[in-house]
Symmetry: C2
Subunit: 515 residues, 2 copies
């Protein structure tokens, strides 16, 4: 296009965007049209757009403000404490990998991978998950055993549904146990970890569904599903948590399964239960003909036994409809699902939204992925689980909003203030003492701030104590210590200040710990 | 090229790479040639290269193993504690920004920015630092005051010098205080933060250099340097910490300054000192003619006064040669430099390497950057400092290596073991009790592991205690608690196990805290 034509296009598009804004159109729609506008401007070269650009983050991404980060940090803290309680360490891998490392790993979804521009050198792509880089790391460093967690962002050029908490840049939070071990011991610990984390985060009631890939394959086989249709049947079964059986059956028929096969599969995959179901199936004449199914069943039996000892028996359900999307699973698979609404809200639900209900963690055993990276195909058995932290953030944010609770965005314990002018240097002396004693302290960055605004700051930020210095305190070598909540003030000799504050903070802390 | 030609090229390049490996060529050289090989293979399409790819991370990046991450986590922990002691919260921004957000921000270095491939939609680039995204965030959300830290990776397509710890993907660790405040109060706190962090990390002696951009500009002006050569003079002065004055002067002459001007500048920029130097310069006849220099000097005077109260007077030097590279500074600038070698090593230094000596933190005041993003140019004064964490990691890694100390990669407190067969379920019961009591515990993932290998695991991983269960313990409802270091074993009633272990861990902790 000629420049004049482009300029005219830009003018039109600019007007369109302005109109959308006036009409208060959906944010996503506006963003989309702004993107088109930017693309047009880019055609004119950088000069045309400089000086007057649109302030936004890339499509499908967002900033996290102090409050959102405070919530995230609390969640990560809880999760990491649990991972460490189980002896895990952490590793880190680059945010991008050689393009070929990610090739042929994600099937159809490969089109969602972000590629870097070819600026001379290697062809690179942003990581799509943490599991493939982990397997690459294992193979590259010839590691045989590891228990590691990895919390980091991954990237998918999906159509973002940001109102539902789905972004193009989002956190994954994985723990994996790799090594040649006896069956189901590590698998059971992964589920114990999920149980501890979901319990600690108080997200409401949940159930952990378990199944085994070999079990599913066995069912398909004995029901007469041809090998090449396993995957399609699997993907249909996976929808049983959202669709009624009739719809799932219809999808199977559509994919070329016979009605007889579909009905047979239907009987099996609608079963769920506990140890008694395992026993029932172990003596199922048809299923007994599949070695594969029997191997899966025996492992599930063991897993359920171990989970009983790990005291999460009442949270676990052997659910034969659980299929999990990813191709690389080879044995046990699991998924944790919230069963109640954790959101204590009086507001009406947004139509079609299911905040607080749904899959919140998932994982399984993948014994062959590391081998796929090894030139000699040497494999390292792995089992792991991924905690759906983005989901968890959304739920906790909604909870906080509904409760109307305030989230503190700092940990400040003491604010050092003065009602009089010219006490900046005295405040500085006091705050230095506090910092040296490892007390979290702030003060206004003004020479002569107003007393009222200083006290307001304490209340707004949730700072529990204020140290007050003025001429009378200076003369008597004391400070006033004010408890913000109660407005109670006591006079304290300057040399006791640190100890007095520390004692009070300790009492606060003990009270909080007991709650 | 035709396919057959490419194939021949691939064969030759493949042989070359193999030869380089046989010759044990430098890793970087091999990587480079491997990259070429991959590029050739890519021309043949994905099929040709699949199945047989090179296991590596992209050029200039690396994985962090458990040990490296343990060191990093300790450093981050120390730094974050300090940031929080000063009341800061954290925010996060996407790893990529709209390309135009980064345009015209980094001068010549803009060529080092990683761009994403145009996959339809917006033009995106990986962030190059954390300051520009911070300013974008401030302007976009119209924030007037904030005290925030941000620890995250940034990306520069520089020629990596990986042996010297310089990578294309690396951490930055920034704290910034934004708001319209009285002069130098926030600036002084930034330096107090640097002081606290460097002291806590025990990196050896250091000095914090301070200067002011207006001071430098004033000196250039009164010495007769033309306005348009300020920046070049500035960049020459910046080298005074590495080059003798003669070389810096030569560079100035080369850039078109007269000898007289250069000599005059030389007198000023070679000065350093404290409050007495400030007083001396405040009455310097020539300098007094520059409002700009006087404004800078008065702020430095104030800053030095505040730093005295903040008890880091003996660590601070007013250094008139300090220039700092970045264009956006508008007032006070600072840099912390290690003055001794912190690395307690008997190994000879690598030629030209200066591990443990050099700039370790830097920052300054930038009052106009946020305004450059605001459509109406509304500015928010900011001051901030960046801790050179990559440098710190290198030093600490070298220290640990030199000391031969072991770094634990897990926090496990108790290993649950058995000398006898068939005690897996009893171990599981015990470990569940420990986890519930928030004790960090592991056990072997084998049904019947050998006692010796279990004890070895404790020693290798630095796990302090083992709980041992066998038939005699089972009969008497006791466990044995073994202290790994001393090999002492005591028998404990099962119901006291948790309390007994917690008491011992508390004693350990108190001892460590006292050291």
């Amino acid at each position: 296009m000629e420049k004049s034509v482009i300029k005219e296009e830009i003018r039109k598009q600019g007007e369109f965007v302005r109109q959308l804004k006036l009409d208060k159109a959906e944010k996503e729609k506006i963003d989309e049209e702004v993107t088109k506008l930017l693309a047009l401007k880019a055609q004119l070269g950088e000069d045309a757009s400089s000086g007057k650009f649109v302030l936004k983050t890339p499509k499908g991404t967002r900033d996290y403000n102090l409050k959102q980060m405070a919530i995230r940090e609390n969640v990560f803290d809880t999760i990491i404490k649990c991972f460490k309680r189980h002896g895990a360490g952490t590793i880190d891998t680059p945010v991008f990998e050689l393009k070929e490392t990610l090739t042929n790993k994600y099937g159809e979804d490969s089109k969602l991978i972000y590629d870097l521009k070819d600026q001379g050198g290697e062809m690179l792509s942003l990581r799509y998950d943490l599991t493939v880089p982990f397997a690459r790391y294992m193979a590259m460093n010839k590691i045989q055993t590891i228990k590691r967690y990895h919390i980091a962002k991954v990237y998918r050029r999906d159509n973002p549904a940001m109102t539902r908490g789905r972004y193009r840049e989002f956190y994954q939070c994985d723990i994996d146990i790799a090594g040649q071990y006896d069956p189901m011991i590590a698998d059971a610990e992964c589920l114990r970890i999920v149980y501890e984390i979901l319990s600690a985060l108080k997200l409401g009631d949940f159930v952990i569904k378990v199944n085994d890939r070999r079990m599913l394959d066995g069912v398909f086989a004995v029901c007469g599903c041809p090998d090449e249709k396993f995957r399609q049947a699997c993907s249909a079964v996976d929808k049983l948590d959202k669709l009624p059986w009739e719809d799932v059956k219809a999808e199977m028929l559509e994919k070329g399964l016979t009605e007889e096969t579909a009905d047979k599969i239907g009987v099996y995959v609608q079963m769920s239960g506990g140890q008694e179901l395992v026993e029932h199936l172990l003596s199922d004449k048809l299923l007994m003909t599949s070695k594969c199914a029997m191997a899966g069943l025996n492992d599930i039996k063991l897993l359920l036994r171990y989970l009983q000892i790990y005291q999460l028996g009442n949270k676990v359900s052997f659910d034969m409809s659980l299929a999990r999307g990813l191709d690389y699973y080879t044995g046990a698979i699991f998924e944790a699902v919230l069963t109640g609404t954790a959101v204590n809200t009086n507001q009406p639900r947004i139509k079609g939204e299911t905040v607080g209900v749904g899959s919140i963690a998932g994982g399984g055993r993948y014994d062959n992925l590391v081998g796929s990276f090894d030139p000699k195909g040497r494999s390292v058995p792995c089992v792991g689980v991924s905690i759906g932290v983005e989901r968890i953030f959304s739920i906790l944010e909604a909870q906080l909003k509904a409760d109307g609770r305030k989230t503190r965005t700092n940990d400040t314990e003491v604010y050092v203030i003065s009602p009089q002018k010219n006490f900046l240097e005295e405040r500085m002396q006091i705050i230095t003492e506090l910092w040296k004693a490892n007390i979290k302290a702030e003060m206004p960055y003004k020479r002569n701030p107003k007393l009222l605004s200083q006290l307001q700051t304490c209340e707004e930020r949730g700072i529990p104590y204020a140290v007050i210095i003025a001429s009378s305190e200076k003369e008597t070598n004391t400070v006033k210590l004010r408890t913000i909540d109660t407005r109670e003030e006591v006079s304290i000799p300057r040399e006791n200040m640190v100890k007095e504050i520390k004692d009070r903070l300790q009492i606060c802390k003990n009270n909080t710990d007991q709650n």
